[in-house]
């Protein structure tokens, strides 16, 4: 056995370990003070009014107006009232897509209107409205297709329950589509919304909030 040679040289102090610990602690402290490792919040979602344009990556959408219409009953009843949201949608994608339906359980293009909130004059949220049909009405025969490179006027329609006051305005949370969603199998995923963060159950990202005042009108199409 050899004993450490203690006597000869001057005793060295252990500097490296405490110094490293101090540096790490300082680094962590600075990081934590600046908000930790969480992603910096991106630009907050924009607030838009009528005519506002939202880039949804695969589509460019101009929100035009909202209005109520009364569709007379062809058999002489009282008819039905609808809340309409009109938007001009330009498809930037590479294939024909369908309009689908808006809202949290929405489909296809329509699901990018993440949340549709009708608001009454006193600020309360009226009873939910019923999504009806979404069409492109202006071409003689209505269509539900959004073709690449073309601009279409899309009307989202909600039936207003009988006896309910029409909302004063409609607030829309608008999302964007992921232009190249990751697919494990290479299978076609269709239209995929951009998510807020990378976690599995992350909610869709709101890129813009649009508020449209509701115009009262007579009979609709």
């Amino acid at each position: 056995m050899t004993s450490p040679s203690g006597g000869g040289a001057r005793r060295r102090r252990a500097v490296a370990v405490p110094l490293a610990a101090l540096l790490i602690a300082a680094g962590l402290g600075t990081t934590a003070a600046l908000g930790g490792f969480a992603e910096a919040p991106e630009e907050p979602s924009r607030r838009l009014g009528p005519g506002g344009v939202v880039d949804q990556k695969l589509f460019l959408t101009r929100f035009l107006a909202s209005r109520t219409v009364v569709v007379p009953d062809p058999y002489g009843g009282t008819g039905k009232r609808f809340l309409e949201i009109e938007a001009e949608v330009t498809s930037k994608g590479r294939r024909t897509e369908e309009v689908g339906s808006p809202g949290e359980k929405g489909l296809l293009y329509g699901k990018s209107l993440l949340k549709v909130t009708p608001v009454a004059g006193d600020g309360s949220v009226p009873v939910s409205v019923i999504p009806d049909v979404s069409v492109i009405p202006d071409e003689g025969v209505p269509s539900t297709q959004l073709h690449p490179g073309t601009t279409s006027t899309v009307v989202f329609r909600y039936e207003l329950p009988r006896g309910q006051r029409a909302p004063q305005e409609v607030r829309l949370d608008v999302g964007a589509f992921d232009p190249s969603p990751e697919s494990f199998t290479g299978a076609d995923l269709g239209l995929v919304l951009e998510r807020d963060g990378k976690a599995a159950g992350a909610p869709p990202k709101v890129v813009a909030r649009v508020t449209l005042p509701v115009r009262r009108e007579g009979s609709g199409r």
Partner: protein, 219 residues
């Protein structure tokens, strides 16, 4: 008990130690190994990309050709352009569909080889690779995708597309059996027929575009 002693093999000469391989043989083995490794690497480049795996097997042709895919044969007979399409239904009511672009009316015919086939919605593939599904403004009973295509005779129908004028040049029409189930078929057959629209062809088609193209419902 008796033991059987196995017959002893005739005493052979002690095995000669193997001769060390010659220099030539060693070089040959090295070359063969390198060649095999190179071939293996080269073969990798022939493997289908993730996007190509299970992609349709496409048969191609031109207007007028009989384009044979594995389960059906299709033919494009004529291509028209129109600014609006008038659809008369069986009851005689008339609807007129208009567009901000142009309607392409493709007259097509098809026959099946062994079993009846039903096409999915026809697709117009533009020169720059964008896919336009046949328009839903036209009654689907007129569509080539509506009837079953039977073996033994040719079934005729149209495919009407609503496209911007810029999509015309270099465009092709794609006919494929409709996806029947939840799980898509791997390598389904597909016929891709070139509409023969080069720059001059596109100009001619637009110049000859009718204001109203009339389609009659069946029966």
């Amino acid at each position: 008990m008796s033991t059987v002693t196995p017959e002893r093999a005739p005493a052979a000469a002690p095995p000669r130690p193997p001769r060390p391989p010659g220099r030539l043989r060693r070089a040959g083995a090295l070359l063969a190994g390198l060649a095999l490794a190179a071939a293996a690497v080269a073969l990798q480049s022939a493997a289908p990309e993730p996007g190509e795996r299970g992609a349709p097997l496409t048969s191609t042709g031109r207007v007028g050709d009989e384009v044979a895919a594995s389960r059906f044969t299709a033919r494009v007979e004529a291509v028209h352009a129109a600014r609006s399409v008038e659809i008369a239904d069986a009851a005689g009511a008339v609807e007129t569909a208009t567009t901000s672009g142009i309607f392409v009316v493709v007259e097509a015919a098809a026959t099946a080889h062994r079993e009846p086939q039903k096409f999915g919605r026809p697709v117009l593939l533009s020169g720059d690779g964008k896919r336009y599904t046949a328009t839903d403004k036209v009654d689907s009973t007129l569509d080539i995708a509506y009837p079953y295509v039977q073996p033994g005779w040719w079934t005729e129908g149209v495919a009407v597309f609503d496209v911007p004028v810029t999509a015309l040049t270099g465009s092709r029409i794609v006919l494929a059996p409709g996806g029947g189930g939840f799980i898509g078929e791997a390598y389904p057959p597909e016929a891709e027929i070139d509409l023969g629209l080069d720059d001059a062809g596109t100009q001619r088609l637009i110049a000859a575009a009718k204001d109203v193209h009339r389609l009659e419902a069946r029966r």
